[in-house]
């Protein structure tokens, strides 16, 4: 099996978000970047587990400037075999999907893995868009993947609960929690990552179809109203008469 795992750079989950230039740009000062957790913990680890047990190769790809190379090295340290940086600076999901699809088009991957969303833009749009560009089925919100011969057996989240499905032939999936467990790279992996191939592929020149005009931070809460622990009936009254939520 040869798998492509698409990974994205994202601000560390503990980041306090701030904006610059009249709230038009994310303020990167002091921000630590990580591999987007859904891409790393679930998509990459599951791809590696399958290849480690039945052979093959895992290629990781990220769309961005030289600043995405540290996360590609992290992916290599966790166990990916090769890394590709697609040399574009996307502003939105549509460009990311188009660039990834242009790269993957003629490579013959058995499956393309993504996380279900990035923790910065949260669109959940890239997997489906990439699948449409490539003419492949897309299994969104996938929670498990096994192979029975050539057939991929997956479970996915739907509005009605967990559904079990089968796909024969290449497909795109977006990984949700449950698919695999986070893997911490060991020293051997980190050393090996330094010499694994990291190549740069040219951009296809996709243009942005949407633009962010301005960011804003949510209004702060007015302050908590504390209720005595011996009087939960008062809380019920407040929820009913003041907040009107029950």
């Amino acid at each position: 099996m040869e798998f492509l795992v698409c990974i994205s750079k994202a601000p560390d989950t503990t980041t306090r978000i701030a904006f610059a230039e009249g709230n038009t740009r994310f303020d990167e000062e002091g921000v630590q970047y990580i591999v987007n957790p859904y891409d790393e913990w679930y998509a990459l680890v599951r791809a590696l587990e399958i290849v480690e047990s039945s052979g093959g190769k895992v290629v990781i790809a990220s769309v961005g400037g030289a600043d995405v190379e540290p996360i590609l090295r992290k992916g290599l340290a966790i166990g990916a075999h090769e890394a590709v940086r697609i040399d574009a600076t996307p502003e939105e999901a549509g460009q990311v999907a188009e660039e990834l699809a242009a790269y993957a088009k003629d490579k013959g991957f058995n499956a393309i893995f993504c996380g279900k969303e990035t923790i910065d833009h949260n669109s959940s749009a890239v997997p489906a868009m990439m699948a449409e560009h490539l003419g492949l089925p897309c299994v969104a919100l996938c929670t498990s993947l096994e192979y029975e011969g050539e057939k991929a057996i997956m479970t996915r989240e739907t509005a009605n609960g967990i559904e079990k499905i089968g796909v024969t032939g290449p497909f795109v999936l977006s990984a949700a929690k449950g698919m695999a467990e986070q893997r911490i790279p060991n020293m051997r992996g980190i050393m090996a990552a330094r010499t694994k191939p990291l190549t740069v592929a040219p951009a296809s020149g996709a243009s942005a179809t949407t633009s962010i005009e301005q960011f804003a931070l949510p209004a702060a809460k007015a302050g908590v109203k504390l209720v005595d622990a011996d009087n939960p009936a008062e809380l019920v009254r407040l929820l009913r008469e003041e907040a009107k939520v029950i």
Binding site: N160, E163, T210, K225
Partner: protein, 307 residues
């Protein structure tokens, strides 16, 4: 502006998230709905302002659904395509955007201001105003954010709709079984009761379930609790689990780490029950009780049952 609303149905009725999406579209322009499969009457769509419903065949995969919605968009000459940002919307909306050469603005949380749409970014830590640069635009609406439109008492006409859809490439081997029983799915739930490590062990979740049942709420949990296997993964709310926006979120024994707050701070009202008065969650709460969960929760349940 003419709009297409892509609708998910359950038992022939449009889902709540889809009705919100349809009402959102109807507030912008004349709206034609697209459904796949069975429909009871107009599925409740006329009442939220939809004029006509195009009914396609049942049992389509995401690529076929995208073809159906795109063909309907062309046929109607629509330029705004709206779907809920639910499980199916995440699989289909992006494909529709690619087919139509349209931009996509996903997870919108309020009616547009001119051509500008507001959506959550950084997992709910911030919002962004976004506009489309294309003639056609795909917009998905976050469940339980826009709110249900006022019922208008209208009805929509239903027409069969067919186009070349190609073959279904996803074989359903076992139909979905609801994981949370009769409770509303977390992304759509209006009332959520959530608990964390303060519960000390999975055997103590009975009082959380009882509290949830007393108001018909859906249960959820913090990340550590799902990671150590006390509760199933699908209950994990937060930045790396499910982002929710219920009307009421009751958090029991959860300290309120920034990653947890990111996934729940869209909740309209937050109640925190924690024995540690310094728990950071109190700063993000509307109401709080400082006290031991094992003492407070049963009393709160009793008070709710007395309503």
């Amino acid at each position: 502006m003419k709009c297409i609303a892509f609708i998910q149905t359950k038992g022939g009725q449009a889902s709540k998230a889809s009705l919100e999406a349809a009402g959102f579209a109807a507030g912008i322009g004349e709206t034609v709905a697209v459904v796949s499969g069975e429909l009871n009457g107009d599925g409740g769509l006329g009442a939220v302002g939809v004029s006509r419903v195009l009914q396609g065949p049942a049992k389509l995969d995401d690529a076929q659904l995208a073809k159906l919605v795109s063909a309907a968009t062309d046929k109607e000459g629509a330029n705004l395509i709206v779907s809920a940002q639910d499980h199916l919307g995440k699989a289909v909306a992006g494909r529709v955007a690619v087919r139509l050469g349209a931009g996509i603005i996903a997870g919108v949380t309020s009616a547009p201001d001119g051509g500008s749409y507001t959506r959550n970014v950084f997992s709910g830590k911030a919002t962004a105003q976004v506009k489309g640069n294309t003639d056609k635009l795909v917009v998905t609406t976050t469940p339980n954010a826009i709110g249900m439109p006022e019922a208008q008492g209208g009805s929509a006409t239903v027409e069969a709709f067919q186009t070349d859809l190609g073959e279904n490439k996803i074989e359903v081997l076992e139909a979905a079984r609801p994981s949370g029983g009769d409770r509303a799915p977390l992304p759509e739930a209006e009332l959520v009761v959530s608990a964390g490590r303060g519960m000390k062990g999975p055997e103590n979740w009975g009082i959380i379930e009882e509290l949830a049942d007393s108001i018909g709420a859906t249960t959820a949990c913090s990340r550590p609790v799902s990671d150590i296997g006390w509760r199933p993964h699908h209950e994990h709310v937060g930045q790396t689990g499910i982002a929710i926006r219920p009307n009421l979120y009751i958090a029991v024994g959860i300290s309120g780490a920034i990653q947890h707050l990111a996934g729940v701070n869209g909740s309209k009202v937050i109640v925190v029950i924690n024995k540690d008065p310094e728990a950071p969650f109190f700063k993000a709460a509307d109401y709080g009780i400082v006290g031991d969960a094992f003492d407070v929760v049963p009393k709160l349940t009793a008070a709710l049952k007395a309503l």
